[in-house]
């Protein structure tokens, strides 16, 4: 007879010394792992609960401004430097890791309207209500020297916004007209006008670098080409757009923050209707900024909340708010795709995590793999009602809650009214208009 009995040598299964790691032999045979689906579901449920537990997005706030923060400047080269301007004309430079103000000076009389960095990240442009454009260095002035701009341009008309070209020494301002300046000339090299008395935001396309978009007070968005003499295209909306931001990854896509509580993502090739209508704010949206990946964008509104939207989604992924945060004037998504900064009326700049439950700092390999695993689980069980409910749940302030409720009734009422009108009119006279088409009046060329 031949006989063999299972006999395990403990030396193969036990660690040799106490300092050694435990030996963990694995066997992936499914028969040894019963209740696979149910255990995964339980893990997914735990993961999604833990995500909500760890969702503490507020990192810190930068206080020091004497008046409301009007604008923020994103440095294309350095992560740690932030420049902010306020309503009293003061500009402050912040060291973000230390959450400290490193430098402050009075840049303009009246509001600082816009700040933009030069591509090298060493200098930045500010515009103010005093019709001046100033270029500043980020470095501290030498001992004994005064805070002075390296260059000052005086404009003939009011300026309310500025945007620098991605590569060339050229920047655009808006106000009564849209002007394109070169850094070493005191006069604008080009002036664009399309029958509008004021433009309140301007933005250079980061990829199609000659393309330029402005928001005008006649509720339109106008596109220009700096190589051209006149404007290119214009789309008129129901209500005016406050701010516009280009997608840094897709050259032809931009998102604008509108007065009618929505954000609209447009394709420049087809302006007749927006690609997406992003709803969730309950008051006018004042500002928007894209993440460097182009997959998400952040918006701030008059409803005192910051919302994060995914690129192709109609509704927001997350909402940030605090008791003390007032109406938002500017938001910024940091270049490392990890933080969101927002400036608001009540003189503070707040720093948030871009993903609220993300752990800051270095992750150990085991930690990372565990996080990846729970991410995958959440995705796998995303459509289970319990998991979806927990993942979607957010605490929102009372005023937003009530406003949402009110908006819902208003919307229902409009729908009902339209349906009634349709029912009592001659067939075909009250056509169905999709949500996308409702908000655009016309496209002009």
């Amino acid at each position: 007879m031949k006989v063999k009995v299972l006999s395990r040598n403990p030396d193969y299964y036990l660690r040799e010394t106490k300092r050694d790691i435990h030996k963990v032999p694995r066997n992936y045979d499914p028969s040894l792992h019963p209740f696979e689906g149910l255990r995964e579901y339980t893990r997914a449920l735990n993961a999604v609960k833990l995500e909500r537990v760890f969702a503490k997005p507020f990192v810190g706030n930068l206080d020091g401004h004497q008046d409301g923060v009007s604008c923020l400047g994103k440095n294309p080269q350095h992560l740690s430097l932030l420049v902010s301007g306020s309503y009293d004309g003061e500009v402050r430079l912040w060291d973000l890791p230390q959450q400290k103000c490193v430098r402050n000076f009075r840049a303009h009389d009246g509001y600082v309207r816009g700040i933009t960095f030069l591509p090298d990240g060493q200098q930045f442009v500010t515009v103010g209500d005093d019709k001046t454009i100033k270029i500043w260095k980020t470095d501290l002035p030498d001992w004994g020297e005064e805070e002075e701009p390296t260059n000052t341009y005086i404009s003939k008309s009011v300026i309310v916004g500025v945007s620098h070209h991605q590569k060339e020494p050229m920047f655009a301002t808006c106000g009564e007209v849209c002007q394109v300046w070169e850094e070493d000339r005191n006069e604008p090299i080009r002036t664009f006008q399309w029958g509008v008395d004021s433009l309140h935001d301007v933005s250079f396309n980061p990829i199609e670098t000659h393309l330029l978009a402005t928001c005008a007070s006649d509720r339109s968005i106008i596109l220009y080409d700096t190589r051209d003499t006149g404007p290119v295209r214009k789309v008129i909306m129901r209500l005016r757009c406050n701010r516009l931001c280009w997608n840094p990854m897709e050259a032809f896509i931009f998102t604008c923050a509108n007065e009618d509580y929505n954000l609209y993502t447009f394709d420049t090739r087809k302006l007749k209707q927006p690609l997406k209508v992003h709803m969730d704010h309950v008051s006018a949206v004042t500002t928007v900024d894209y993440s460097p990946t182009g997959q998400e964008f952040v918006s701030g509104g008059y409803d005192k909340s910051v919302r994060i939207f995914e690129h192709g989604k109609n509704h927001s992924r997350d909402v940030y708010h605090t008791k003390r945060m007032q109406r938002l004037t500017c938001v910024l998504w940091s270049m490392d795709d990890k933080y969101i900064l927002c400036g608001s009326d009540e003189m503070n700049i707040r720093m948030w995590k871009a993903r609220s439950a993300e752990k800051l700092g270095v992750l150990r390999p085991r930690e990372r793999s565990a996080l990846n695993y729970s991410e995958a689980l959440k995705e796998k069980f995303v459509s289970h009602p319990q998991i979806r409910r927990i993942a979607r749940h957010r605490q929102i302030p009372k005023h937003i809650y009530h406003a949402q409720k009110e908006l819902r009734t208003i919307k229902l009422k409009q729908k009902r009214k339209e349906a009634n009108r349709r029912a009592h009119s001659k067939p075909g006279t009250v056509p169905f208009v999709s949500e996308k088409k409702q908000h655009v009046v016309e496209e002009q060329e």
Binding site: K2, L6, S7, L14
Partner: protein, 608 residues
């Protein structure tokens, strides 16, 4: 990196000057290195292979043509990033073992985007299955076996013979415990197979690390003991005593006395749910959540005395055997059995379910033994007539069936799919068998008898390779603690105990029954309640009778309206609850216009 390997190759080649061809090739390589001239095309096969292996693991992005690429092109070898991996294919049977069933074909998917997504998902699953199957190569142990020579039968070998022909460590696994005073005994192995718990009817309870023969504790509870059961770790066990159920720790200290569980005859522990299922003398079946100490469910089965109980490890359903020859399956969520199987014409004597939840073996007093397909609830797959009544049955991890008949244990191999004509092993004990169980991850069958405990060596019964994250026989204290926390975190809720545990991963499609029930519900819909206060037109104070009357008239009208709309829309057509709501809404929102009073009355219109 590549350069380094090339150098090495050259050096190795230099050492073997007898290989002419190689030498010349290496020289060429060297010249190439120095002068950066284009090398000659001619190369030996071995040289080529060396090159290929060097380049194979290089994960460098394409940076245009370079010399290596030239050489590769010259040798007509595709660069590695265009070539499919040449891994050794995995055996089909291994793949089948790890397969989770057929994937989705994606027939019903309309958009290309989702079709592509599904395809990728399926490919990922396939890849993971393949990887898992490949990892079988790393398993350290092989299962035991007993092969007889040509003129022998495996049945003829006694335990002494087997023990004498295996190594010393294995031979110690066959032992007897003579405990004549406190029998008859019952026993239970812990989940990792390391610890043994025995309980004698006359109060003797002992916990043993049976591998090292170390006694953890030994107490006499001074009461009748009906059953013993390890809980999720080896620090706690439950003992069903004469009146109530008690929980002790591994030093024999009484932790809990659970008076809600009285006169318990049998216990089963569901490790993934942390439930202790008990069956009592009075027919009560209860599930106790031992992680939070809460009774999940407790009800009377109305099946009389419950002295046959086992659980299906595949779906955690509790199976009870009854004297009418039926097997009932229970979950804590339903007070009726999930299924009732008439297995025998005679009272059941024992039943067991195999570890993968495929087969159930039942034995009755008419000496029959039947094997059932417990997934389809069909059968019998096999039917045996034994020479004595099988009072005990046990399935091992690898599907060996032990049958205890009086004082004889017989072990059958491959008895579920094929019919086994003779036992694999047989052993005769001195006394009647109390109960028996295979030790997980060992080739051992533990038998508790009237006068003690016997451990039998059954080669090939246990799973050779354990998964340390699931059950680890060599677990240290810290590992045990960590595993306890982990398993508590992924405790499955008792609501999920159903016959099919994979439902949660399936797509929910409402069945015909659901649809019919939804329709039925519609018939009993109540009209919406209205809060109506009649207007006081005249300004005078009116009697409440009048007001009540008006209210009643309006309410009646409302109800009639509702029924009418329901009929108009057609109950057959209404399928979803949303439509019902819209139907209700339409009734609610029908308002009376001031000018409606000039319309002709509807009743008259109908008549005309």
């Amino acid at each position: 990196m590549t350069r380094y390997f090339l150098n090495q190759d050259c050096r190795e080649n230099k050492k073997k000057p007898q290989d002419n061809c190689n030498e010349s090739a290496s020289k060429k390589l060297e010249t190439h290195k120095r002068s950066k001239k284009k090398p000659s095309i001619k190369k030996s096969q071995s040289e080529l292979e060396a090159l290929v292996t060097v380049v194979k693991y290089k994960r460098k992005p394409w940076r245009g043509r370079n010399h290596e690429d030239d050489r590769l092109a010259a040798a007509k070898v595709q660069p590695p990033w265009t070539r499919k991996s040449k891994r050794v294919p995995v055996q089909d049977e291994k793949l089948a073992r790890h397969s989770r069933g057929e994937g989705l074909s994606g027939d019903g998917i309309k958009t290309k985007f989702y079709q592509k997504k599904l395809k990728k998902h399926e490919a990922d699953i396939q890849f993971s299955i393949e990887q898992a199957a490949r990892a079988e190569l790393l398993l350290p142990e092989e299962s035991g076996f007993l092969v007889a020579d040509e003129d022998e039968l495996t049945t003829q070998f006694s335990q002494q013979q087997i023990a004498s022909s295996v190594d010393i460590a294995s031979a110690t696994k066959h032992f007897d415990l003579h405990l004549a005073e406190f029998g008859p005994y019952r026993m239970n192995y812990s989940r990792n197979g390391r610890f043994l718990l025995i309980g004698g009817r006359r109060g003797h309870v002992a916990a043993i690390d049976w591998v090292t023969k170390r006694l953890l504790c030994e107490v006499n509870v001074m009461e009748a003991v009906y059953d013993v059961q390890w809980l999720h770790v080896e620090t706690m066990f439950a003992v069903a005593q004469k009146q109530w159920l008690y929980i002790y720790d591994n030093q024999g200290i009484e932790l809990h006395c659970i008076k809600r569980l009285s006169k318990v005859l049998r216990m089963e522990f569901l490790p993934y749910h942390f439930l202790l299922a008990t069956a009592s003398e009075e027919g009560f079946l209860s599930w106790l959540d031992i992680s939070i100490g809460q009774m999940v469910s407790q009800f009377n089965t109305r099946m009389g005395r419950l002295n046959l109980m086992t659980h299906n490890p595949y779906n955690a359903v509790v199976c009870l055997g009854h004297s009418k020859g039926i097997v009932t399956m229970w979950s804590p969520n339903v007070k009726e059995p999930l299924s009732k199987m008439l297995c025998h014409q005679h009272p059941l004597q024992s039943l067991t379910v195999d570890s993968q939840g495929r087969y159930m073996a039942t034995a009755a007093v008419d000496r029959t033994l039947k094997v059932w397909d417990v997934r389809k609830l069909e059968g019998p797959l096999q039917q045996y007539k034994l020479h004595a009544v099988a009072s005990n049955l046990a399935f091992s991890q690898r599907g060996l069936l032990a049958v205890g008949m009086g004082n004889v244990v017989e072990v059958y191999r491959d008895c579920c799919q094929k019919s086994a004509d003779r036992p694999y092993l047989r052993h005769r004990l001195f006394k009647r068998i109390g109960n028996m169980e295979y030790c997980p991850y060992e080739d051992v069958l533990g038998v508790a008898t009237d006068n003690g405990f016997t451990s039998l060596i059954i080669p090939g019964s246990g799973e050779p390779n354990f998964d340390a994250l699931e059950c680890n026989p060599f677990q240290s204290k810290s590992q045990r603690r960590e595993a306890e926390v982990k398993s508590l975190l992924e405790k499955i809720q008792p609501e999920f105990i159903t016959l099919d545990p994979t439902v949660i991963t399936d797509v929910h499609i409402p069945t015909l029954k659901d649809k019919v029930e939804a329709k039925k519900k519609l018939l009993f819909l109540k009209p919406p309640k209205i809060d109506f206060q009649p207007r006081n037109k005249s300004g005078k104070k009116k009697g409440t009778v009048k007001v009540a009357q008006t209210k009643r008239i309006v309410r009646e009208g409302q109800r009639r309206e509702f029924v009418k709309t329901l009929k108009e829309t057609g109950i057959d057509k209404i399928s979803s609850s949303q439509e019902v709501e819209s139907c209700i809404a339409s009734v609610k929102h029908k308002t009376f216009n001031a000018l409606d009073r000039f319309k002709p009355k509807e009743k008259k219109q109908e008549k005309g």
